[in-house]
Symmetry: C2
Subunit: 216 residues, 2 copies
């Protein structure tokens, strides 16, 4: 059932200079996500990539080098155009926020994004340069995006000002918790992403929408 999917590994040697690095990186990312940096064996990475350990060293100088290369290669920066979108979006801020949340959920739960996140959380402290890069290209941009959306909503009178509007990251926070939950407790206490995203939107919107009358 497993071997039926992959083409059975060719018995003959193959020289594939330009396909190798990406394959090694894929294999490495998967192993690093599963076992952490220290727990990953290059022999396992090699096996997963269908090669032999020595071959890795033709393309990467060391385990460290592979680790950095893998993360850098698979780190997809948030496109800056998202900010453009916020500036030119025609609809209501509620629609815009919902759109942003859909984008966030659609993206954060991709296997690759999850692997990256897990690695950053687990190993980030030991690789500050990479954490900083990840933060700059992903986290900070996401934060700015939410801030822009909330600011727009407040400016147009659709969202109320207040503590949440001052620290807009709190609006997206549940999505991040969901990601962490999935990578940790999913086997024991699975989380229904659809329902969760709905609950998140429900909570966030009714917390941030202006209303005619405020109770209490």
């Amino acid at each position: 059932m497993d071997s039926a999917l992959q083409p059975p590994p060719p018995k003959t040697r193959r020289r594939r200079k330009d396909a190798r690095p990406a394959e090694i990186i894929d294999a490495g990312l998967a192993e690093f996500a599963e076992h952490g940096f220290a727990g990953t064996k290059l022999e396992d990475v090699a096996r997963r990539a269908g090669i032999v350990k020595g071959t890795i060293y033709r393309y990467f100088d060391s385990k460290d080098a592979l680790f950095e290369a893998a993360l850098k290669a698979r780190l997809t920066p948030l496109i800056d155009e998202v900010e453009q979108l916020v500036a030119t979006f025609p609809g209501s801020s509620t629609e815009l926020l919902r759109l942003a949340m859909r984008l966030a959920y659609g993206r954060m739960f991709q296997p690759d994004a999850q692997a990256l996140m897990r690695i950053i959380i687990s190993e980030g402290r030991r690789f500050p340069a990479i954490t900083e890069l990840y933060h700059r290209e992903t986290v900070a941009k996401g934060r700015r995006m939410i801030a822009a959306i909330v600011a727009r909503g407040v400016a147009r009178g659709e969202f109320r000002a207040g503590a949440a509007a001052d620290l807009p990251i709190v609006v997206m926070a549940p999505a991040i918790m969901a990601a962490v939950w999935k990578m940790t407790f999913e086997p024991f206490d699975p989380l229904d992403l659809e329902k969760f995203a709905a609950a998140h939107a429900d909570l966030a919107l009714d917390g941030i929408l202006t209303r005619g009358v405020t109770a209490l």
Copy 2:
């Protein structure tokens, strides 16, 4: 400046049969939190505990055994009485929710609790039994507590029913994100806990409170 705080390690051997295990566990927990399971060297644990590697084996059979013992020893279960509290609390559900949030923030950001959390997130997949224990004693109880509070609020007409009330964990989610944030991005983008907790309460409450009139 470092050596001024600790009493300088005694040059003479000391026999301290009953103090050792806890000291080794403390040292181990710190090292595991910092370097992960595979990345932790028992020699470093020993140095941190002011002993020598061999001594660890007098008290623990293996690295694995120390790891499990350390986590189990420092895992403080949420007390079941919290549910009692919910049942007998005299004030409004808003007050009760705020109280629960204060408890959660007060507890989750203790160094020990943070270390535990970081280890569970990083290593949990490889130690399912411990993850399950952590989930049962901490996560599930916390979840039940929030659910009880929200249910009470809905029953008393203070909180509105809806998606968020159906999945009450979303109400606490931002606190968990804050914990993850602190353990990962604090050096690059520090998070002001006071402000964050306020923003969280602001968002959550205004999302969950019933109101006379609902806009849009």
